[in-house]
Symmetry: C2
Subunit: 362 residues, 2 copies
């Protein structure tokens, strides 16, 4: 309705005016893209964020830049999203860069380094401390331009059929976990296994695996893990602030009008705010329901955490020795993390601790 009144008021370039040339700049080209995603529709949080960003881009461009959202398997399998975007099979993919550490271990910095940064620190590292500049060549080699587009917040440490009391309890443990964190478990004698979401529950139930990590309470609850592996560990030290990414085919990115590039960037930032906020709104009640259904919360013992940390340091040294770029990014990342730890200890964490003290029942 407002369009008609605006046209009537002469506030817009008319069709006739467009012919006079300068106002052509006002007309936006019609662009239609396909976005292949790595997260199933059952994860309404993560998949919902893909849909939100695509819808937002359309809204920001008066409907002229349309990105159609696809779930894994609809046009591209979950873990081939980067390849599909890099090769131009789709114009853009929505995924977690660390799925592709097999191609390049530096990909992990785009999602989460074990013992790394929380959700707020990740955005700061990427956008205000040089992280994106360090990662740009990593993406470019894969044929994509990356835009940070979401975060789940710190994840849980996963579900175990037996308690983990000592490092010895990890020996021979068959644990469903992906990527680079699986290598850390292996250093401590565990057997890391990659399994798709749908395969985890039956494997746990039949005892094919002894434990599995997925996301956090809200997502985990849907799969019903508490029925077959009741010890629910925290924290998920391998994913303290896992970040999701829109990966845009380079050629398509470069041919996009700047206004549409900005629309995609703004929508992805908005998605970043909303995804973690939605998890925070949903997780507390889900955690309560899980505990009511029999889940037993357990922190990883301090000694076990220390062993994981040492194993991670070993792994970084090994990867760094054969991959100078990984080493360079790691050094930058770790300097930033040390600064953030010192700062958060003063401002954020001291507040959280004080709150726990003043609000506890007397």
């Amino acid at each position: 309705m407002h369009r008609r009144s605006l046209v009537a008021s002469g506030a817009v370039a008319t069709v006739a005016g467009a012919l006079a040339a300068p106002h052509v700049a006002n007309a936006q080209p019609r662009v239609t893209w396909r976005c292949a995603g790595s997260f199933p529709k059952s994860l309404d949080t993560l998949y919902g964020n893909q849909e939100f960003i695509c819808r937002r881009v359309a809204e920001l461009t008066d409907g002229n830049f349309q990105i159609r959202s696809f779930a894994p398997g609809e046009i591209v399998p979950a873990l081939q999203v980067l390849d599909a975007a890099g090769s131009g099979t789709v114009e853009v993919g929505y995924t977690a860069p660390y799925y592709y550490v097999g191609k390049d271990p530096s990909m992990t910095f785009g999602t989460a380094l074990p013992f790394g940064l929380n959700s707020r620190q990740m955005w700061s590292w990427l956008y205000h401390a040089g992280g994106r500049e360090l990662l740009a060549p990593v993406w470019r080699e894969q044929g994509v331009h990356g835009i940070t587009a979401g975060n789940t917040g710190a994840q849980m440490g996963g579900w175990f059929r037996r308690e983990i009391r000592t490092v010895q309890d990890l020996h021979g443990l068959k644990f469903r976990i992906g990527g680079i964190a699986g290598q850390i478990f292996q250093k401590l004698g565990a057997v890391a296994q990659q399994l798709g979401g749908a395969d985890i529950y039956p494997a746990l139930e039949r005892g094919v695996i002894d434990g599995a990590e997925w996301v956090g309470p809200y997502d985990d609850e849907k799969l019903g893990f508490q029925r077959v592996a009741r010890y629910y560990y925290y924290p998920g030290w391998w994913e303290p602030g896992p970040t999701t990414e829109f990966m845009v085919n380079l050629r398509h990115w470069e041919s996009l009008p700047p206004t549409y590039q900005k629309a995609l960037e703004a929508a992805c930032a908005e998605g970043y705010c909303h995804l973690v906020a939605r998890y925070d709104a949903l997780n507390p009640a889900a955690l309560r329901r899980l505990v009511a259904a029999g889940a037993e919360l357990r922190p990883f013992p301090r000694e076990v955490m220390a062993a994981f940390y040492r194993a991670a340091q070993e792994l970084w040294a090994e990867i760094g020795a054969r991959n100078p770029r990984f080493k360079q990014i790691l050094e930058h990342f770790e300097r930033f993390r040390a600064d953030q730890q010192a700062w958060f200890r003063v401002a954020e964490d001291s507040f959280a601790i004080a709150m726990a003290q003043v609000t506890q029942p007397r």
Copy 2:
């Protein structure tokens, strides 16, 4: 150049195609607004965020929606931004809602409730738990539509000329602090004073006041407080996640094309991500420099924190007794906060604590 290549590839509607009429919808109206801000240019973080959002809106609309940014005093004094936006003197203001608790104490929920939520939880409460819906009538009565647009992260507890060891040390203490938190200090016998940024240092130097809170290390450093009040306390329990807001004159908001409304919302969300991230990137080094220059870091003693918390609860009961809406929002806010505390203790805080343990020098 890219437009030409898109046209050549046939991917866009051509100018000739536009003549067929439906593409008139592509043209965007020219809108020019003025934004009056509450934060001085010397706060390049907070004022910079206002400029970023205004620039981003222009970029998202192909330059058609222009918002010109003004610092305090240029057209409107710092603390009259809400009035100016509400009355239509300016189309939009950028400010902190809690400056206006004198008009309505519920305004404080738009920025920060003492002992409230951190930056991530604030966005979650506002957008995913019903906070915005509760605050909408509060804004509407002031003639504005509010859009959450930034966060500083947890602030510091401020600068004191003498150490605060017991609640008695607060008696007669003249402390520069604004708004509703000042009333909490007064309950413990302190004298709360409102002073503009430029007046704080001389007042501290001459002993007119005994202490002052401002923001955090990066902003505080510019004012040089460590030279005249060396004890730097934390945490800033009255501002654990202070939120800034774009307040749009209601009539102007409603007459804005939906595409421009979305542009403003997206730009504000992006500003939210960037502001706190920029603070996180800048604060650690500033804190180091302050300590090197003689600042002595001190946590508020546990007993003092407990007294502040009790005084806050008293104040909420008093305000709630005469203001049912404040009471209603408070109850909603506190339920959400209790959930967040329980959830963060498991996921986020346990990770921060584990990191402090595993990374400490052996």
